[in-house]
Amino acid sequence: MDLLNPGTGFRPEWLEDLHVNQSAVERRVATLKNRRSLKKEWQAAWLLKAISCIDLTTLSGDDTPGKVRRLCGKARNPVRADILEDLGVADMALTTGAVCVYHSMVKTAVDALAGTGIPVAAVSTGFPACMSPMELRLKEIEASVADGATEIDIVITRAYVLTGNWQALYDEVLAYRKACGKAHMKAIISTGQLATLNNVAMASMVCMMAGSDFIKTSTGMEAVNATLEVSLVMIRMIRRYHELTGYKVGFKPAGGISTAKDSLNYLVLIKEELGHDWLNPEMFRFGASSLLGDIERQLEHHVTGSYSAAHRHPLG
């Protein structure tokens, strides 16, 4: 995959005229949920799209190779074959967008997914707090890339945002970018710790200037993770960056997205604010672990008309 965004120099003037009105953002999100409705085949098709955009994730201290292999199996076959058959999409070779793990599980995942084309993403740079020495963070990236990760989810020093040190943030992300080499870089800005939507907007912009291919809301470890509000602000910044540079940056909300309905709200948000070009796994991902389970149940309900149960679907 080519990189999406070569980045620009540090352009502080692009931060000067950013204004985010929180109240207006909240209203847009509140009404958007009620402005669009997806029924029947449309709902099923959009849920399949959601699956194709999932970074199926496990980020736990007790992850083992066995658990990761099982997850990779789920990534290859995210939905029971008979359901796909009934939906008429058996030949689509539906998979999740990627599998996302810690560095030590990268090799296992790469092996388990060999030949599938499903990328392996590694969270990196002292995930989730970003408090380890910079050289170790860079080394961590390099190690994961060496092990076969083609996507690196980096975390940023939140202190730079909270103190308005945008140059330092730019330099940090640029250094990550270089360490990533040909791997896609997703910049996690940890919105739940950035205090204001204006900070979210500016951090998004700086990370894009420094060459992030994706910007991502959260580590999943903050008290508040992805919300539609912060997502709206971030994707408006993606639109703005595209207007300014012509580069299209991808978006990944992560953490707390666990229901089929949630995933549809995000897809609608993307369609309305960014358009079709972003409705695919190249430009959009969900960072989620339990979302897939709920979507599977909804799809079975669509096919059979009966409400489904978790145990009817293979564990990931």
Partner: protein, 794 residues
């Protein structure tokens, strides 16, 4: 489409709301609807009918009765009969019914939403999420006012029978805005829904039955404009509340002049939507969607005039065009529809006509491509979202209300220019201001001539926050405490007719001594009357004791001009105004003997009575000086994170016509509250005793009253008052005189729909409790609600 196709094109597909329950309801009425009078359904006596149809597909929905003369009369009679008992039920008794109506409406919310969408053509998302919930909220809120009526509105009673005429753009919501406060206050109503959209009102009538509302409290008569006229003209209606076009509002104002009917008018608008260069432009774009592409732009307070700061104009326009492309025009019943059908082809033609004229006058038209996956029934009455740029301020689309999804764009350079452009309109209903700098937004809001100002939001409504216009957008407020006052009347003592005294012939000798020829007082200076003529002033004993100028049209013009220039008075601090009023009182005190003697000489009262009048006049100045910095507004807490600031603002320029009775006290009692609240006055004193006014200006001259704040024109009072009422720069007229004079003031005020407070020939006891009070302050002010949402922390 297969799932695979949809996976690739990511279209929305149809999401229609079901209509089964409403279809059933309509089928149950397939023989037509009657009129709801006295708790019963009756056929129209004239046996005339009309049909209501669905503008989205042209299909007929129902047959409706056209109420005629006898029907309207029967409805008014039923309301009259029911009123005393309804009022005597007491606040709590009425609150229970309003609560029941709120609950019932909530229970049947979806049915009402679907019916409204079918009848009106507006998207189901809006009826479901906005119209019906707001209507429900209105009944709950006013159940509360009914409950609190005795304690919160002491010394007030219901007005009686209220005629209400509502528009087609928010049929049920406007019904709620009208009916809820009226019946909460103890009135009974006859409501006429708009002919295009009567169905939810009829469904509501069934709820009234279900709630066991006493017969005659709510009566609903369907019909076209002619039914409305019958209601307007009906002699036994005490108050009319109308929401609709300025044109019809003007007619109603003229037709009811002199009838004593209390009136509230909520009329048209061309509301400015002001975007400063420090605004969140993406937020402003969504604001515009809510402002002008909400309800197909058929909203009286639609933000139809975009005023954008030049530096961000192109950036904003690009964002607007991008956003317009995702607006889905189509089947109103589809949950994915943003813009539904225009209510009727007559209306659509009007939109097309105005847009065409706008383009002919130089505007550039832009409309987005139709969404490929949005249904657009050809039989329906649809109009696409439309952007008009290169609009001069003289272009018809910058001036006239289009009442369609059409946005006109103008630009400005500075905050000052933005305000001037925003106020460059005959209307004054609403405005919105977009800036991330609250210093700026809160500076701009009070300077806008609009009854509602939304900061960084638009088209927000709540039952607790008054809604209504300035200028030709009407008068009166709906919602909140101020809205309740529109349906209440202060308790008055025994009423006597106001006696206008004839100016007697000179019977005695001219008073010896130096000639006294009092001039007019205009712009802080004594001015000779333009006519060059004087009028004699005759004492009680028939002696000519002086002359006053015979004011004419031109003197009124000059006085209004001077008042206009004294605009700073409206912005000066309340403390400052209070100081001036105290100073006037102090100086009047120094000259108490002189005024006492003047009263004795002119009116023939005994000295004691005259002293009392002077003392009370001084007290009254103290009273309104005291109030000047205490008649505060309110801070509402609408259901959003933020506040709505209800500010009591002056009307602007107020004409005052004074009675002959208690000539000093009445004059002071009217003038003091007017200027205390920040208005500038053009005062026409008692025609019989004008010297009290000309004496008073000598007091004003020594009391630091800024030039133009008070202007005094002596002469033929009623004809001068008519000139004032007819003057487009005058914002309100108070008149205390004959019934005929009152009627003339009201009729002449129809021109720019200025607010009137006239006595209809009924005398006021200036010495008693009704001679002063909050009623005067309310009449001297108008409420502006400024919505300020806030929040900058996640």
């Amino acid at each position: 489409m297969t799932i695979k196709d949809i996976f690739n094109d990511m279209s929305y597909g149809p999401a229609p709301e079901g209509t089964d329950k409403v279809d059933q309801w309509l089928a149950g009425h397939k023989d037509g609807f009657g009129l709801y009078i006295d708790g019963k359904w009756i056929g129209s006596k004239g046996d005339k009918s009309f049909t209501s149809s669905n503008p989205a597909n042209g299909k007929k929905l129902a047959k409706l009765a056209q109420a005629g003369d006898a029907d309207v009369d029967a409805a008014v009679k039923a309301a009259r009969k029911a009123q005393p008992k309804w009022e005597s039920l007491g606040g709590h008794g009425r609150a229970k019914y309003l609560y029941a109506l709120a609950r019932l409406l909530q229970k049947h919310a979806r049915k009402f939403a679907v019916l409204e969408t079918l009848d009106n053509g507006k998207p189901i998302r809006e009826t479901r999420d906005i119209d019906i919930p707001l209507a429900v909220r209105h009944f709950y809120h006013h159940a509360g006012w009914a409950q609190l009526q005795e304690s919160e509105f002491p010394e007030h009673t219901a007005i009686g029978v209220v005629g209400q005429i509502i528009p087609w753009n928010f049929p049920l919501l406007m019904l709620a805005w009208k009916v809820a406060p009226a019946i909460a206050a103890g009135n009974t109503v006859v409501l006429k829904p708009a002919e295009y959209t009567s169905l939810t009102a009829l469904m509501f009538a069934e709820l009234c039955q279900e709630a066991g509302l006493p017969a005659g409290v709510v009566n609903i008569v369907t019909g076209d404009g002619s039914t409305g006229e019958l209601l307007v003209d009906h002699k036994d209606v005490d108050k009319l509340a109308f929401t609709g076009s300025t044109e019809v509002g003007r007619l109603i104002k003229a037709r009811t002049a002199g009838t004593g009917k209390k009136l509230t008018l909520e009329l048209g608008g061309k509301s400015p939507f002001i975007v400063f260069d420090d605004a969140d432009l993406d937020a402003a774009v969504e604001g515009l969607v809510d402002a002008i592409w909400f309800n197909q732009g058929q909203v009286c307070c639609a933000g139809s005039r975009l005023l954008v700061q030049e530096g961000v104009e192109q950036a904003l326009l690009e964002k607007i065009r991008l956003r317009m492309q995702t607006l889905r025009v189509g089947d109103p019943l589809d949950k994915n529809t943003d813009i539904g059908a225009i209510v009727d082809k007559v209306q659509k033609k009007r939109i097309e006509g105005l847009v065409q004229q706008g383009v002919e006058q130089g505007a550039t038209l832009w409309q987005p491509e139709r969404q490929p996956d949005s249904a657009f029934p050809d039989a329906g009455c649809f109009y696409p979202p439309t952007l008009l740029t290169n609009v001069d301020s003289s272009n018809i689309v910058a001036i006239e209300e289009i009442f369609g999804p059409v946005l006109s764009v103008l630009s400005f350079r500075t905050q000052k220019e933005a305000i001037t452009l925003a106020n460059n309109s005959r209307y004054g209903l609403a405005a919105s201001v977009w800036s991330e700098n609250l210093n700026r937004a809160l500076d701009v809001a009070p300077q806008l001539k609009a009854g509602v100002v939304w900061v960084n939001c638009t088209n927000q409504f709540d039952a607790a926050c008054g809604f209504g216009g300035y200028r030709e957008s009407g008068f009166g407020r709906e919602g909140g405490r101020e809205g309740m006052f529109e349906y209440l009347a202060p308790v008055r003592g025994k009423t006597a007719a106001e006696q206008d005294l004839p100016v007697p012939e000179v019977s005695g000798q001219q008073q010896a001594g130096i000639d006294q020829t009092a001039k007019l007082y205009i712009g802080g200076k004594q001015a000779r009357p333009d006519s060059g003529n004087s009028l004699p002033v005759i004492s009680a004993k028939g002696v000519q004791i002086g002359l006053v100028g015979e004011g004419s049209r031109k003197d009124i013009r000059n006085a209004v001009e001077a008042a206009f220039k004294a605009e700073g008075w409206s912005r000066t601090s309340a403390h400052n105004r209070a100081q001036i009023l105290y100073y006037i009182a102090e100086n009047l005190g120094y000259r108490a003997d002189e005024f006492t003697a003047r009263l004795v000489s002119l009116t023939g009262v005994d000295k004691k009575q005259a002293q009392r009048e002077v003392e009370l006049s001084i007290e009254r100045l103290f009273f309104y000086a005291a109030w000047a910095d205490k008649y505060d507004g309110a801070v509402h807490q609408p259901p959003l994170k933020g506040v709505a600031l209800a500010m009591n603002e002056p009307l602007g320029i107020v004409g005052i016509g004074c009675p002959d009775a208690a000539p000093l006290l009445a004059m002071v009692s009217m003038l003091a509250p007017v200027i205390a609240m920040g208005n500038r006055a053009v005062l026409v004193p008692s025609q019989r005793f004008p010297l009290l006014a000309t004496d008073l200006y000598q007091v004003l001259e020594t009391s630091d009253v800024p030039a133009g704040v008070v202007n005094i024109v002596t002469g033929a009072r009623d004809s001068l008052m008519q000139v004032l009422a007819d003057h487009y720069q005058v914002d309100g007229v108070w008149y205390c005189g004959s019934a005929e004079g009152s009627a003339r003031v009201e009729a002449a005020s129809a021109g720019n729909l200025k607010r009137n407070w006239v006595n209809h020939g009924i005398a006021r006891d200036w010495f008693g409790a009704e001679g002063a009070g909050r009623e005067f302050l309310r009449e001297a002010t108008q409420v502006k609600n400024v919505w300020v949402p806030y929040g900058d922390s996640i």
